[in-house]
């Protein structure tokens, strides 16, 4: 039905879907942790497991089907009100979800294989069985699957034994069978010697009424699911004697979906009847059947739509001919799908699009420049229109990559829960600004540093309940994650209401580790930043979570790599806030073009607060100028980069602000706004200070993009150096 490539593409789709489902399930579990009676969450949780199991069955991922089956059956008892989810049970289920997530990671999309750590799974299932107070039933199933497949007859497939799955045998008997002295029952008995009969159904649909029937004629049919390592020939041999008196169809284990569908259609009974038998015997999932029937209906209509896409939109296709119960379950499953009517697109396709849009921006700028050089008014006008559209496309394209940060934030419910339990602390997580949008690639790279910060806050920041009560604070600690937009940047805050950073202790430790000179005078903020130095850790006891001195420097380098900055705001005894500032996107920015002599530079526009004409003189490369009565630290860029500055013409100051830091950049000429497609610097230039990338101008010239954060750091260092006491040290902190 599918070629390998289509299949592995579908499988990739499933893996994505599976991850989403596992994540959903986790969210529901965490809700239930707080509100054990939230019915909607229970249903959602069950549905997630049910769908996961169903879809996994479609791809013959038997270990996953088997594992989720246990969770699903447990949840069905919860849903039916027979059991409540206790805290230990939730913890256990969270671990099971972890196992599911790692199974999903282990699926090889090319071969469709799924290697599993059976011992670990058995352990989890045993623990689950113990919690649910049904040790024998479930544990037995997990352990003795190989000996006793029949017990697992209600499972999706027979797994755990040597055979890869169940055979399906369809028998329709000739009316003369009984009259010739054959008894179907004896063949069934004999078949039982080849393996375990997982499922059997006697069909008597063709039988006339008692009054009309010939009781000596056979009207019966059998549908059998057999778990056996026997070959097809061996199974056929069982029916050797009645070959002339029956129609026999044998489908090997794990036959293709369309083989089953063909069987359904070939048999005289209704599609639903046979379909429900196949479902009951675990050879097909409801999902597969519904999908298959819908698929056939569609193909039957002569619509040659790609089969793959039909299956991908699993659940979106209304099943045409399934019974009412099936349809009902189906619609329950469809709902979440419809709510989020989204299209999955491979990330690299989006990257390609954005890359092309970037090139388009450059060439449109080139066209406009040419038009201006030609001086033709029509030409200029049309190139301006083109430019407007290009700009609109650019924005739309960038929006495609924007996703809400909420998903990333929500995963911290789990981290906070686990870590605080481990440490015996009570901590509540507050999330604000979950709908703040951020470039997908930024969010992906942000997860690790945020995790470090959150763990750090729980481990070091928030005190134990006793300490908190002694300090007059509520026993329950608070950790909040907050995101918001601020002047073209996104700001993410991780704050706690713990003890705050211990400046003296950090200083002591830094001296001990040789990170700073014992004589050095550092501001409080600078001292705090020392915790981002490699190999720095102040925890007295190395705990499981943090305290090994890895982490905070990783946070710093991850944020740097995102062209972001981080600052710490700590109030002793009251708490600590880590504030991360990040650019909204990594690919294209609105820039401000300036030049130094003949060289062009771009400064991210959102950082520019104003432009001024330079009327004073700066004595050296770095210094202060008076900006409306306040000292403004300034950097002479031409001198800083050792470029010849143009002798004639006035010079300008560009006032930039980054967070609360403000500084003036002295340049020769201002050219104005420019959409800037960021091209990364080559390997050779990656370590250049003060430059974060390059771009190509419409004229074909190269302009370098200034890394304002690093420029400000250098400026600060020089100013510190030159203006070292006696007089009070001026600070870059603006108003």
């Amino acid at each position: 039905m599918f070629n390998d490539e289509q299949w592995s593409q579908l499988l990739r789709g499933f893996i994505e879907e599976g991850r989403d489902l596992a994540k959903q399930a986790e969210e529901y579990l965490l809700v239930l942790d707080q509100e054990p009676d939230d019915e909607q969450a229970v249903h959602g949780l069950f549905r997630a497991m049910h769908t996961l199991k169903g879809s996994a069955g479609l791809f013959t991922l038997t270990p996953l089907v088997n594992f989720t089956h246990h969770l699903e059956s447990l949840l069905s008892t919860v849903r039916d009100g027979e059991r409540r989810l206790t805290a230990p049970l939730i913890s256990l289920m969270l671990r099971c979800l972890d196992e599911i997530a790692s199974m999903l990671d282990l699926i090889d999309p090319d071969s469709g294989e799924l290697p599993v750590d059976e011992a670990h799974q058995a352990q989890l299932l045993d623990a689950l069985a113990e919690q649910t107070g049904a040790p024998r039933a479930i544990a037995h199933e997990a352990d003795d699957a190989a000996e006793d497949c029949a017990r697992r007859g209600t499972l999706e497939r027979c797994v755990g034994c040597d055979a890869a799955g169940a055979w399906h045998i369809s028998l329709r008997f000739h009316p003369d069978l009984l009259r010739n002295g054959f008894d179907p029952a004896s063949f069934v008995r004999y078949l039982g010697r080849l393996g375990e009969i997982l499922h059997l159904e006697t069909l008597a649909e063709q039988m006339p009424d008692l009054v009309e029937m010939d009781p000596e004629s056979c009207y019966l049919g059998l549908e059998i699911a057999l778990c056996s390592s026997a070959s097809k020939a061996e199974i056929e041999d069982v029916f050797e004697f009645i070959r002339d008196f029956c129609t026999l169809r044998i489908l090997p284990p794990d036959s293709a979906l369309d083989d089953y569908l063909k069987l359904i259609q070939d048999l005289p009974e209704t599609d639903e009847r046979i379909g429900s038998i196949l479902i009951a015997s675990g050879l097909l999932t409801e999902h597969e059947l519904a999908e298959g029937l819908a698929l056939q209906a569609e193909v039957g209509d002569g619509l040659k739509s790609p089969l793959g896409s039909v299956l991908v939109e699993a659940g979106m296709v209304p099943p045409k001919a399934v019974n009412a119960a099936l349809a009902k379950q189906q619609s329950a499953r469809e709902r979440p799908n419809r709510e989020s009517s989204q299209i999955r697109v491979a990330a690299n396709k989006l990257d390609e699009l954005i890359n092309l849009v970037g090139e388009l921006v450059i060439s449109a700028a080139g066209a406009q420049l040419q038009a201006q050089l030609q001086g033709s008014a029509d030409c200029i006008e049309s190139s301006q229109t083109v430019n407007q559209h290009v700009e609109a496309i650019r924005e739309a394209a960038l929006k495609l990559r924007m996703i809400e940060i909420g998903d990333t934030f929500n995963r911290f419910h789990r981290v906070v829960r686990d870590v605080s339990q481990q440490l015996g602390k009570q901590i509540r997580l507050d999330i604000q600004g979950a709908d703040t949008e951020l470039d997908r690639s930024v969010i992906d790279k942000l997860a690790d540093p945020l995790t470090h910060l959150v763990r750090n806050a729980i481990d070091h920041g928030i005190e134990s309940a006793e300490q908190r009560l002694a300090a007059g604070k509520p026993a329950e600690g608070r950790l909040s994650l907050n995101a918001f937009h601020d002047s073209g940047m996104i700001v993410i805050e991780v704050s706690d209401d713990g003890r705050g950073l211990n400046t003296a202790r950090i200083r002591e430790k830094a001296i001990e580790r040789g990170l700073i000179d014992p004589q050095a005078t550092l501001s409080e903020a600078d001292t705090h930043m020392l915790i981002f130095a490699a190999g720095f850790s102040t925890a007295d006891a190395v705990s499981d979570l943090s305290g090994r001195g890895v982490g905070m420097d990783v946070v710093r380098s991850a944020i740097d790599a995102l062209r972001g900055s981080i600052e710490i705001e700590s109030r002793p005894g009251l708490g600590c806030t880590f504030r991360i500032r990040l650019p909204l996107t990594l690919a294209i920015i609105d820039g401000f073009l300036v030049s130094l002599g003949d060289e062009h530079f771009v400064i991210p526009l959102e950082l520019v607060t104003e432009c001024l004409e330079l009327d004073a003189r700066l004595d050296s490369r770095y210094g202060y100028l008076n900006l409306r009565g306040k000292p403004l630290p300034c950097i002479d860029l031409a001198a800083h980069f050792e470029l010849p500055s143009s002798a004639q013409g006035r010079r300008n100051i560009l006032v930039v602000s980054l967070g609360r830091h403000q500084a003036g950049l002295i340049v020769d000429r201002l050219h104005g706004e420019l959409q800037t497609v960021i091209k990364p610097l080559g390997l050779l230039f990656q370590h250049l200070q003060g430059i974060s990338g390059s771009t190509i101008l419409g004229s074909g010239q190269i302009a370098l993009i200034l890394d304002v954060a690093s420029l400000l750091r250098q400026l600060q260092q020089h100013i510190d150096h030159e203006f070292r006491s006696p007089q009070p040290r001026p600070d870059l902190m603006g108003s």
């Binding site: 009984l178 069934v188 008995r189 008597a204 008692l210 009781p215 000596e216 056979c218």
Partner: protein
């Protein structure tokens, strides 16, 4: 050999075996019994049935369907081990009281 007794209007007691050799005779007896009584819930006592085969099971199935279509129910009582074994093998336990099609 099979014998039918009708100790009550809606009750039949079967004695002997119900196999391909007896089904023709048994069908006549059932048809006569069902035709002669008003519709209702029938009890079939199998306590004295010592053998059942697929043909017999098929007949029981037909009888049940016949009664059901007339709006009644057919219950098989006191089925012995051999009868149960065959019904279980063909997953026809639903014919038995409290039977479940999937009980082994």
């Amino acid at each position: 050999m099979i014998e039918f007794q009708q100790p009550a209007p809606l009750r039949l007691d079967l004695t002997g075996s119900l196999t391909i050799y007896e089904v023709a005779e048994a069908r006549e007896a059932l048809r006569a019994a069902f035709a002669g009584a008003r519709d209702g819930d029938w009890q079939l006592d199998l306590g004295a049935v010592d053998e059942l085969d697929s043909a017999g099971a098929q007949l029981l199935l037909a009888a049940q369907r016949h009664v059901r279509e007339a709006g009644g129910a057919l219950q098989l009582n006191r089925a012995g081990d051999r009868v149960r074994e065959l019904l279980a093998l063909l997953r026809l336990n639903e014919l038995l009281p409290g039977g479940d099609a999937h009980v082994q």
